[in-house]
Structure formats: C-alpha cells, structure tokens
Symmetry: C2
Amino acid sequence: MSFSVTILGCSAALPTANRFPSAQLVSIRNRRYLVDCGEGAQMQLCRYGFSALQVNHVFISHLHGDHMFGLFGLISTMSMMGRRSPLHIYAPCGMQQILDDHLRYFGEGVSYSVEVHELCCERQSIILEDKHITVSTFPLYHRVPTCGFLFCEKTPPRNIFKEAIAKYSLPLCAIIAIKNGSDYTLPDGEVIPNEQLTYQPYAPRTYAYCSDTIACREVALAVQGADLLYHEATFADDMRDFAINRGHATARQAAQLARDAGVKRLIIGHFSSRYRSVDALVAEAQQVFPNTCAAKDGATFFLNQDLPFAD
Amino acid sequence: MSFSVTILGCSAALPTANRFPSAQLVSIRNRRYLVDCGEGAQMQLCRYGFSALQVNHVFISHLHGDHMFGLFGLISTMSMMGRRSPLHIYAPCGMQQILDDHLRYFGEGVSYSVEVHELCCERQSIILEDKHITVSTFPLYHRVPTCGFLFCEKTPPRNIFKEAIAKYSLPLCAIIAIKNGSDYTLPDGEVIPNEQLTYQPYAPRTYAYCSDTIACREVALAVQGADLLYHEATFADDMRDFAINRGHATARQAAQLARDAGVKRLIIGHFSSRYRSVDALVAEAQQVFPNTCAAKDGATFFLNQDLPFAD
C-alpha cells in the first residue's frame, strides 16, 4: 500500500550541478511509474537505488527536450538489461514519429516493443487503469500541448467490523454478501445498513503532477483535493509577467493554486537555473500555503495512508 | 600551454551510479574540446565547473547511443545559454541525418548553426588544425565504423639561446632570421648552424583517445609515442574472447598496446557495469604497463610540459 514520489530531476530547461532535468518515479504498491524522462533519468534511477527494468509505464508531459531526452538512453539500457515485455509510453501527439525516427537509427536489437500511446492534451481522461489505481491526464497550459497526470488510488473494498461479526453471529455467506455491499437482515426482520457493518480501510490517495504550466483555475479544478501536488515554480513572483509569457508559474502562484485546490501538500519544482538556492521560492510559497516544500533530486515524498479510516 | 583531459563519463554502454556514459573534455591552451558526448555530458560539464559555451568542437567516435545521446540536450542548452557561433561536430557518416531529423523536432529557436563534419573512419587524417594543434582521426576496430582521435601540439618555434645573442653580438635582423631557421655567418665567414643557436622550448605533447575498439597493431601504430593514451578496457582479461567478439578490449590488452606503442601514460576506461570496483582491471594492466591508471568521472589528467627542453 506504499505510495511515494522520488524526484529524479527538478530543474527547468537548463540543468545545474545539483538539479537534473524533469523526471520522477511514482511508486505505488511496488509498481514504478516514470513521470517525465529528462536527460540522465536512467542514471538517477541507478543512483537512487532503482532498476530501469522496474518501469513499465512512462508518462511524458510534453515534447520539450528537458522532459524527454532521457528516453533515448533509457530505451537502449532496458534492452541491454534484457527487457522482453513492452514499454508503454504515454505522451502528447508527435511522440510516435519522434520514436519511429529514433528507433530507425538506434533500434537495432531493441529486445522489446515500445508502445506509444499518444494523448489528447485538451481534456481530462483516464489513460491507465488496473485493480488498484487509475492514471488520468488533464490539460496544462504551456507553450506547447502539455498534459498533467493524476495518480488516483481506487476506493478500496469495505472491511467488516470484527465486532459486527461477533455481535450478529454473521455466517460466512452473509459476510461475503456484506463485503459486496449488502445490508444484513436479522432473524427478527430488522435491517442493519451496510455502512453500520463496514468501514473503508483507508482513504484512497491522489498525486497530481503539473509541469510545465501557468497556474490557473482549470488546473486547480483538475487537482482538487489531491493529497500531494507537484507544481512547477520556475520563477519567483517578481518575475510573474515573464513567467506567464513563457507559460510558467511562480512559487507564489503555485501556492495560491494549491490553496485554492484544497490539496494537502505541495512540492514545488522545475526551478530555473538562476536560483542556486530555492529557499526564497519556498518561503514565498509558504506565505500562501504553509505545507509547501521544495523538490530536490533524490528526495522521496511519501503519501501517508490515513489508517484506520472509518467514515 | 596547459593541456589536460577531464573525464566526464567512463562507463561502457550501461551507466552506473558513479560512471556516466563516455564523454571527456580535452583542454588545450584554454580551448575546450568535447570528445564523445554520452547522456549527461552537459550535467557533468556543469558539475565539474565548465560551461557548455566553452565548447566549440565536439568529436564523436561512433554512432552508438552511449557516445552521443548527450548531444541532444547539449545543443538545446547551448542555445538557451545564448550561443551564436557555430558548433562543429565531427563524427562518422550518418550523424548529419540523425541531427537533421533531431533538429526537425527540436531545432526551433536554436540560435546558432550546427555544422556536422562527417568523417571517414578508414584512414588517418587531420580534421582540425589551428596555430597550436592538430586533431587527427584514425581507424578503430569496433562493431560499427569508429574513429580514434589524436590531439597533437605542433612543434613550437625554436627560441634563441640568450648566451648566443651575447656571444655573437647578434643584431635584431639576424635574431629574426635565426628564429625563422637560418644559420648565422660570422664576419670571418664561419657558419654557426641554427641548431647551435636555438632550442625547442618544449616538447610537443600528444593525447590519443581510443574508445571503443579491439586492441590491435594498427591502433598501436596510430598512437605511437603518445604522452597520454586513453584506451578502453571494457572487460578483464578472463573475458577476452567475449571482448573481441563484441569489438572491445580487456585491461591487459590495453596495457599491452600501450607498451607496444611506447606511450608514456595510459588511462583505461569504458568499464563494463559488471565491475563495481575497477581495481582489479588496473592491477591487471599495471602488470604489463605500470604507468596505468583508471578513468574516473570528474578526474583531470594533466599532460606535463618537459620544460625547458633542449635537443
């Protein structure tokens, strides 16, 4: 039930000595999802103790180099490590052609198929779903078509209170029916509603990824109530006109969006190389949204599970 | 008159937590030459205190990803840093098409021209020359066409011994003529040969780069007498059959080549990810050629100037 985000790179377009281009690893129940894949993402995976082979799904927010130039090396490396299963890459339109051209030169001997899923960046939609989670995309507002990503745990099946089993001497067939949502009728005809017999074992968690984008109402609506939000804060607020002009956000704007969206925690990242230290950006954001911290290469942020959770 | 080599990456195809893919910076008289450009080369430049803008010439040994995937990010970064002068890229045939395709997707707004010089990998030739150095390419023997590179200082103009000026009361016009190679004729008709009047101020230095290749006689001939040789040693000698089959060399073979070529110092690199420590490879090489050391990301090797040098 672990759910965490490890920052592999949090620089804006120009990397620095300490900040690699955008990439992060979302880990949910031992599955690893790579979100953006800037240059050096494969080395950062290695440095922070992950294997490239753990990644089956890569989500690319937009087709700017600092968010995707790491794909080329990653594809080769996975092949040399003996990958056989398909690699799924979700990205805005254009990725298929880029990778077709790339694989024409460098695809000889690639031992698995690279499956590109081109995304519409103009509407919210579920792009991946399994038993436990959904991954959705939603529009961001940058200079080129850009997708945000939302990793949502599904609502878990309800558990029965142990006390109820004893209290009502529930037989096995009744327990199964109640777990599937039924009420329970006592021998005297009294109906015990399901919600008195069961509880939600934990609150499903949500992580929202927003880079690169201006901070606007539409984005706030899309990430509403997220447990953890990563939002770009390329500049400090004294550069907000420049930021908007470049399709970026300031730290203050990211914090305002986090507050307006009612998220629980905010990570700011995608820092311009002009900021050697990002302390001032964090301070600026915390004035508006105290529960803000800065992305840092190698840092892992855990989404805590509210346990036990009874509604 | 400085001449040094800084290792930016010395892994074989699979990078590790401590070794980036192949790239190094050759610095001669404050000019910087990038040799190979594996993924992350731009971040390594930054980490080790160099600016990408210092590089005007990039030499790519062959078109395998681990030697060139860093070019894409570097080209973008140079543009964002405001580069205006052309960037010259020397590489085997095929690079022009690869970069044309790349720039079709990612070249919008690139603020300078990328000049590709495609190389013939089958013969030795001078590919760059200025007042102080020549850069030559020579054939390596890998699975695809591969070029080695030789950075040679030119023989410096000879200096006149101060004692000779006094002894023969040389007038200015004679000094200029002698510096240009003339002998000097005394009033009594005796001719003093130029080599008695002048000396070579320093021995011109040579750096040879060989990655990837099998270690063979042809390569030894090409790097004959180099002051410093970087030679790949992907494997230890217990894997020599596998190495040759993959177009690679072992540490022992690299050392034998260094000895046979009469070079002064050997750096081994391009280490397979199977070697967490490369101590055993260095020890194996040193048994044959004691003046061997291991490449390490961030290490700088200086080519000392034999000063003063009188022949």
